[in-house]
């Protein structure tokens, strides 16, 4: 009868043999020298890190950063507050209030309805890009920077003042 701890049900069990250490192993010096050699080798290698705020890495082409609400070629807001971004948002980070375009505001808004309030809670946003995919008007893109840190929760709710693309002069 074999001992229970030696039975291998998967056939992959390896029995670890604990042999007594020999002299070189006992004085530990070769291992220390080996470890230090690796450490000192890295001093002469290229650094893996960068000095972040001064130096920046290039984003990949499909990087998803802060959202921006787009304008069309005439500088009118593209968003019509259709709510599909908010519907597709898995984190429920987007809220909006629609309003009707008044006569004389045609240069400001593209369609007869526009988003009077458009808010994204950046604490909830997971930057999945579903809003960008859902948008039928190409009005929202996650083409911005990394969302900055803050100390106050209410500063993470980004309104149109922060999201809307600035007008090109």
């Amino acid at each position: 009868m074999e001992k229970l701890e030696n039975i291998s049900l998967t056939g992959r069990k390896k029995v670890l043999e604990k042999k007594p250490m020999n002299f070189l192993e006992r004085i530990y010096l070769p291992s220390i020298v080996q470890g230090l050699a690796i450490t000192f080798k890295h001093l002469f290698k290229k650094k893996a890190t960068i000095q972040y705020p001064e130096q920046r890495r290039e984003f990949s082409v499909n990087f998803r950063g802060i959202h921006s609400l787009k304008r069309d070629e005439e500088g009118r807001e593209r968003c019509t507050a259709c709510g599909l971004c908010a519907l597709s948002c898995p984190a429920e980070a987007i809220t909006m209030i629609a309003d009707e375009r008044k006569p004389g505001e045609e240069h400001l808004y593209r369609e007869e309805k526009y988003a009077a309030v458009y808010e994204i809670n950046m604490l909830r946003c997971i930057f999945c890009g579903f809003c960008e995919e859902a948008c039928p008007k190409q009005a929202i893109y996650l083409d911005g920077d990394i969302a900055p840190a803050d100390v106050d929760r209410k500063n993470f709710i980004y309104g149109k003042d922060k999201l809307l693309e600035p007008l090109l002069k």
């Binding site: 019509t80 507050a81 259709c82 709510g83 599909l84 908010a86 519907l87 429920e92 629609a98 309003d99 009707e100 369609e111 007869e112 309805k113 039928p136 008007k137």
Partner: protein, 316 residues
């Protein structure tokens, strides 16, 4: 006459009263085999036969005359014969024809769903999602109209109208004097009204409910919110003019709009008056019955967590 007619639709048999249309026979069976209908409205007499979305193939006319009908038939207007066999989903011909009908309906329909208040509960949206092609083959300009105010509560977007005539039947059958109808013929046909005679009948608001698209919309709800962010709740009140059984559409604690109760085919059976529709938008006006039954696949049921609220602290 107590004799019942046997009808087989897509291989499913049922027995119906003589004089039933194929569409209503299919609705008695229920499920996926029910043909879609844009213009037929069960509670409006004489509706149907205009949009042709409910076309089906009658592969066997009746027990006595088993020849198939030569053309696809509008199921809302064709009555059942004994032993009739009908194909809807099982006939590729019907599916192809329906795709063509949807393309025709969309010829002049603007794809302004992101702006339209009907989006989310629009029959044409569902239909084009199911049967429509991605691009239009129509090369000419769509016909365009200015927005018209029918009274101070209803807005008519003639661009979106598919000329189903449902609202005209509402005006004919529910209100005592009709002030709007269809003017012009063929491509020139449009819903029109004598604007000075703004509709002030108590039941005029029902044309909003019967409109299958967003041509007639509630101005008190205009751009307030998207349909799928509001929560439908059934409620009733004592009304001396109508039945008072409605659906309230809540956003948070506010009633954004009041509509009639629609069944699974989007049809209202108990029409409501304008007082209930426009003037009673506070919770205390109503007795709440419970959440409205919404199809699980509907966008309206999205993001609603309908699980029962269990109180954590037992108040005894």
């Amino acid at each position: 006459m107590s004799e019942k007619y046997k009808i087989t639709i897509d291989g499913v048999s049922t027995e119906v009263e003589p004089g039933t249309t194929i569409l209503n026979a299919a609705r008695q069976i229920g499920g996926d085999l029910v043909p879609p209908a844009m213009c037929y409205y069960s509670s409006l007499e004489g509706s149907g036969g205009k949009c042709r979305t409910c076309l089906v193939k009658v592969s066997k006319g009746s027990e006595k005359d088993p020849r198939p009908m030569p053309k696809l038939m509008a199921s809302c207007r064709t009555t059942v014969m004994d032993g009739m066999e009908v194909q809807n989903l099982t006939s590729p011909e019907v599916q192809e024809a329906r795709k063509g009908v949807v393309e025709f309906l969309l010829i002049n329909h603007p794809l302004d769903c992101p702006v339209c208040d009907q989006a989310g509960e629009c029959k044409l949206q569902d239909l084009s999602y199911e049967h429509g092609t991605e691009a239009t083959r129509y090369e000419f300009n769509r016909r365009t109209f200015e927005r018209i105010d029918i009274g101070d509560k209803i807005q008519l977007h003639m661009n979106r109208c598919i000329l189903c005539y449902r609202c005209v039947y509402v005006a004919n059958q529910l209100t005592d004097q009709r002030v709007h109808g269809i003017v012009g013929r063929g491509d020139m046909a449009e819903i029109s009204t004598y604007v000075e005679k703004a509709i002030d009948n108590d039941f005029s608001g029902n044309m909003i409910d019967v409109c299958p698209v967003g041509a007639l919309t509630d101005k008190t709800f205009r751009f307030k919110n998207r349909v799928w962010f509001t929560k439908p709740v059934w409620a009733h009140r004592d009304c001396d003019k109508c039945c008072g059984r409605v659906t309230l559409w809540y956003k948070g604690d506010d009633v954004l709009r009041v509509t009639g109760r629609k069944d699974e085919y989007g049809e209202v059976h108990e029409f409501i008056c304008n007082t209930c529709r426009y003037d009673k938008k506070r919770t205390k006006d109503w007795v709440i019955e419970g959440p409205a039954k919404v199809e699980r696949q509907s966008v309206i049921s999205a993001n609603h967590y309908d699980s029962k609220v269990v109180p954590v602290i037992d108040k005894r």
